[in-house]
């Protein structure tokens, strides 16, 4: 199908708008009759355009899914228009549980409890409600058949990363067994025991 890139880009934009929810790249490829790398290039270009021109929408990339969202810079004014409140911030316990699930997934609740040293049942259920984590299996052989948890696509979207590899690295241990905190951008000391 001989069409120039501009047409394809415009068609892509239309598809993304109509989709609303995250759309898998394979669906885009098959309807536009283009291969994956072309599609990814075009999507990347479109996303860059929105950001560079400071448009009101942004293109999100989560694993193989793509989705349009409003630009975070204009969140306040958009919210004011629809009279909606800013969603509640994740509490420190919620962030801790989420981080444990994100970095060590799939994990059981027992593992989360063990790392945090406190019971995390409520926080886990809260994160499940918020669709930030999900059940991804069960350890059938273990007593109590504990469930395994992992992060969701909504987690990737909420933290603006396209895959788990983009999570900031956990601070490593140096040769003396101490946390290497200074290598992170100026937030050292926060976690020293």
């Amino acid at each position: 199908m001989a069409r120039d890139m501009r047409d394809l880009e415009a068609a892509l934009e239309g598809i993304l708008f109509a989709a609303g929810e995250p759309i898998h790249i394979d669906r885009i490829c098959s309807s536009l009759e283009i291969n994956r790398s072309t599609a990814e290039k075009l999507l990347g270009k479109l996303g860059d355009y929105y950001a560079f021109e400071r448009r009101g929408i942004r293109l999100l990339h989560m694993e193989n899914d793509w989705q349009l969202c409003t630009a975070p810079e204009y969140a306040a004014v958009i919210r004011r228009t629809f009279e909606i409140r800013k969603p509640a911030k994740l509490s420190q316990p919620a962030l801790e549980v989420l981080a444990i699930v994100a970095y060590y997934q799939p994990v059981t609740r027992a593992y989360v409890d063990q790392v945090r040293g406190v019971d995390s049942a409520y926080t886990v259920s809260l994160l499940l409600d918020r669709d930030l984590i999900e059940v991804c299996g069960q350890l059938k052989e273990q007593p109590g058949r504990p469930r395994l948890y992992r992060t969701t696509e909504n987690f990737l979207r909420s933290f603006h990363i396209s895959s788990l590899e983009e999570l900031p690295p956990l601070p490593g241990m140096d040769e003396s067994g101490q946390l290497r905190l200074d290598s992170q951008d100026g937030e050292g000391g926060a976690a020293e025991e």
């Binding site: 929810e21 969603p87 989420l98 444990i100 063990q114 956990l170 601070p171």
Partner: protein, 258 residues
């Protein structure tokens, strides 16, 4: 005696993602805690080697942290020797358990420190999710709400069509019929009077009422008169469809309302 070492490496490889071990000694302690290996299986020379290697390494480091490892290794050596001397040493076993527990706690707290550290970053990153709004998808099954688009000219065209059809379908004005309706050649009222006359002369057959009718319209007038008279209960029809007789009820024609 390198059997256990081989075992350990196997495990290290398969679990590399989940557990990060600081050193071989750490790993031995961990595996002991999981009952993967028995303390009796560990060659004392292996522990000693690792212990010494650790000590050497630790000399260049922060002693406070290193001392923890050294204590553990020393304790392990101590327990190991006691177990070698007496396999049924319950005290040594419980000490071993304590040691393992301490190690697990240490690892958890290390992991927790890492997690706590990274939550600061995550909290910042999470701001993005709080600042975006998403559009819900287009419904795949269209509802009743009309969502297509048209040009304004289409409405005009539709209006014109209504006009065309209106001209064709509207009933003709009544004046067109005035000529036809004005003269009624056989008024039903006259016919009714005729029928009464026939009845008084003794005619009883329904069919005979139509004898002498010269045109279709006269026959229609006769039939209408019969129907009207029946309705006014002036006459009564009896018999079968093929042989129908007609009788007067004695009611006068005045009750006929046309």
């Amino acid at each position: 005696m390198d059997g256990p070492v081989y075992k350990l490496e196997q495990v290290v490889h398969s679990k590399a993602g989940m557990e990060d071990f600081e050193g071989p000694l750490d790993l031995i302690l961990f595996l002991l805690s999981k009952n993967k290996i028995e303390i009796q299986d560990i060659p004392i020379s292996l522990i000693l080697e690792q212990y010494l290697a650790y000590l050497e390494l630790r000399q260049q480091m922060d002693l406070e942290v290193a001392s923890e490892f050294v204590t553990m290794a020393a304790q392990l050596m101590f327990i190991k020797t006691r177990m070698l001397l007496s396999l049924e040493d319950a005290e040594a076993k419980s000490e071993m358990e304590q040691l393992v527990k301490a190690l697990e706690e240490r690892r958890s707290s290390e992991n927790y420190a890492k997690i706590k550290f990274v939550t600061a970053r995550l909290s910042e990153m999470g701001e993005f999710g709080r600042s975006i709004l998403l559009k819900s998808p287009e419904p795949l099954e269209r509802g009743k709400v009309y969502k297509y688009s048209h040009r304004p000219a289409e409405l005009l065209a539709a209006w014109r069509q209504i006009g065309d059809r209106g001209e064709r379908r509207a009933p003709p004005p009544l004046s067109n019929f005035s000529e036809i309706v004005r003269q009624e050649p056989y008024p039903v009222e006259n016919k009714a009077r005729d029928i009464m006359g026939l009845l008084q002369r003794g005619v009883t057959s329904f069919r005979l009422l139509f004898r002498g009718n010269r045109s279709r319209s006269e026959m229609v007038a006769t039939f209408l008169a019969v129907l009207e008279m029946c309705r006014a209960r002036i006459i009564r029809l009896t018999g079968s469809p093929s042989d129908c007789t007609i009788t007067a009820t004695g009611e006068s024609l005045d009750s006929l309302q046309l």
